[in-house]
Symmetry: C3
Subunit: 257 residues, 3 copies
């Protein structure tokens, strides 16, 4: 009986604690996990990646509650999803894009039964008034069917796919972590052959290293990171700042001389 929270509320705010309080009032024995409350405000893509890289490590039955929700109170719907033995509650804004991309058989519900929410619902804080009580109900044994009705997500979100050229591969930076490592969408399986060159901005990298300390401190490098994807890094440095790169930036992998 684990409920996780993933929000952009910031840790200096009362909002995460308000959600936790509501859940504990309904379900005193639950285990409450903060995946993070420091997603950059409204950054749905950032949250999507953080969810993808953390949720799967939790046990089966975990209820993941994602409130990165710039459209709160508007027309976007609240989704409840069952995928690979776990549950996800999230706004229909693309924050579950990797989940939908990776699991075509995910069961998706539109959670529209307001009798399971707090009353009245504040139009600007669905985290406290809708997501928190729904998460508690799910963790207490209610089924998704009891909480809503089948639905298709309106916004599946853009999952950047690598582009294959004749002798190269074009990828995209999809996440920059707190160390400044720039993670791409190029999975290790695409780079089974040792590349001749990796280009990012106007810089060239000649090989795929195994770990950061393979290169001298300060060296720009590429390696397969903990997500299983190619990552641009600087040993003991901050690759994103060094290169001035952002998510969405291109990375080219060339295979033959």
């Amino acid at each position: 009986m684990i409920i996780t929270l993933l929000t952009d509320f910031g840790r200096g705010s009362p909002y995460a604690a308000a959600m936790r309080g509501v859940i504990l009032g309904m379900l005193p024995g639950v285990r409450l996990e903060d995946i993070s409350h420091e997603i950059p405000a409204g950054d749905v893509d950032y949250a999507a990646w953080v969810l993808k890289e953390s949720a799967p490590y939790y046990p089966a039955g975990t209820v993941h509650t994602v409130v990165v929700d710039p459209g709160v109170g508007g027309s976007r719907r609240v989704l409840g999803v069952e995928s690979r033995g776990q549950y996800y509650l999230a706004p229909d804004n693309g924050v579950l894009k990797y989940l939908f991309h990776g699991d075509a058989s995910a069961r998706v519900m539109h959670l529209n039964r307001r009798e399971f929410c707090r009353s009245p619902v504040c139009p600007t804080f669905h985290g406290r008034d809708i997501f928190a009580p729904l998460a508690a109900h799910l963790a207490m044994g209610k089924t998704l069917d009891e909480l809503g009705e089948p639905a298709e997500p309106e916004i599946r979100g853009r999952v950047a796919l690598p582009v294959r050229h004749r002798e190269s591969l074009e990828g995209e930076i999809v996440f920059i972590d707190s160390f400044g490592n720039a993670v791409t969408n190029l999975e290790a399986s695409l780079i089974s052959e040792e590349p001749a060159e990796i280009r990012v901005r106007s810089r060239s990298i000649q090989r795929v290293s195994v770990t950061y300390s393979d290169e001298p401190p300060g060296t720009l490098m590429a390696l397969i990171g903990s997500s299983g994807c190619l990552e641009i890094a600087v040993n003991q440095g901050h690759a994103a700042n060094t290169l001035g790169i952002r998510t969405g930036g291109a990375v080219h992998v060339r295979f033959t001389e």
Copy 2:
């Protein structure tokens, strides 16, 4: 048996963990909740608002432990308060001002029984040596009477009240949240009639919206926020930075043309 912690220690510091360790050593089964450890250093008013907007959502019996305490080790007293079925431990510096303002029947004690504290008490870290053990004792079933003696708070703190003019209302910004939304002290009940104009800095807002996405991104707007008070916001933006407003700034609501 829940103990919450609300401090300005910062998450990169050892101080919050030291408090948690002390409590767990005394009460291994307690549920320990971090409301926040990222209150701006010494910002008693900020902490007061965060407490007001989070504590009430926790279950009855919760012990809220507030250590935003720039006067630590000086003459200020340590208060223990029972209010609406919950307990509060805090320095007598105004951090409980909303609680005292809203609950005239709160029971207030001066917690001066040092035999329930760690020994010796470090004059600069009452969080670890006084508040943590007192919180554990309360959660273990000690009563406030056993831990101290009845007292009046010396510092009740300033709660800004709205000023009614003939055809307008003058409020004050009391909190700026992590999204940059500027929360005022103007409760929704004061704005039952649709205002003709809301003025903040030299900007004018013509209506009270329901939620952020009611206005185009970047638009300055007003709405009733999750605290039940009028809030100045920018959809997908940061109102406080946009306007250059701070807590204490004035907001005027005019009702007739």
Copy 3:
């Protein structure tokens, strides 16, 4: 059955949650404590101090898991240490320096049994694939002997020791906390006599105060802080920024006129 985590992952990252998920999958009933995930990236000395000032307050049997590990995946070893009834898992990079300095009888093991780790091990995320499962195994009752073999730490780390001159004492700033207080390595016992002067940068302090509020706001001061060491502070200010001091900076205490 407590496992603590101390990392430099940052709270906006998925990495801490991935570790927590792995541990919860193995040991659903464990108590998981975040000491901090906001150690400055790769700052082993900072982490060492935070560990020293928090770990001892946890109950006997606690498993402290330290992943501030810029050499991850390289030749540095993973250590398991038993000291004063607690357990420590950490890279062999000096992050346990205060522990080794203070406890000559600490039992140190090289945890090299990969059958207790996740498989495969990602060379850049030993936190998730090595430290998390090892911590869970220890908390589940495995002994250090079962997880590795006796070893000496290769890097014991530099613990700055005070230097005694004829009529003075020379110390060093070893930690700057989130309030800007600059903690030195000069323990209170070295300053039993009231000093004539404390010098830091080109500033002079004339006495050792008891607590921050002993001096007017904004005043540079010295006191014995919560670590039991001399600390340079500014009441309601940020001493480190005011003085432009950093860790490693010198502090001189002169005893006679």
